[in-house]
Subunit: 81 residues, 2 copies
């Protein structure tokens, strides 16, 4: 079973990478870009034999405890297959 966890800064937290990317895009002529936010994602392959509910529980725990910093970051996840 495979899962994807998406982690990004909370909307109220400044995202300097996103600001830098927007500025780079503008300087290359992509003037239509109003805003850029950057995040990261993790593609996690879980061992076979887990139920979807158990996989969901484990992925939630990993996201909360390891992959994201809940003070400044939000996360979302999806089970893919």
């Amino acid at each position: 079973m495979k899962a994807r966890v998406y982690v990004s800064f909370k909307p109220t937290v400044l995202d300097p990478q996103g600001v830098a990317v927007r500025s780079a895009l503008h300087s290359l002529g992509f003037d239509q870009v109003d805003d850029v936010r950057q995040g990261k994602f993790f593609e996690i392959l879980l061992a076979g034999g887990l139920s979807a509910a158990e996989a969901r529980r484990q992925i939630e725990a990993m996201a909360q405890d390891v992959l994201a910093n809940p003070v400044i970051e939000d996360y979302q996840f999806e089970l893919i297959e």
Copy 2:
């Protein structure tokens, strides 16, 4: 209009961050994790008034020229709204 661009290493390229995350998860007791690959994503807000086709063309150009390094990275994108 909003788009999301996902960038990750090609499957044949070593992903040291993913390896480190897998190892951290194992050491915390998440033994079911077989593999982790890490990537990044960009949430791009485009100015209103662009057609979907034009937005798609611009996002493709940004991904190809700026956001990803096509030698070692793959990208995917989706228009969200």
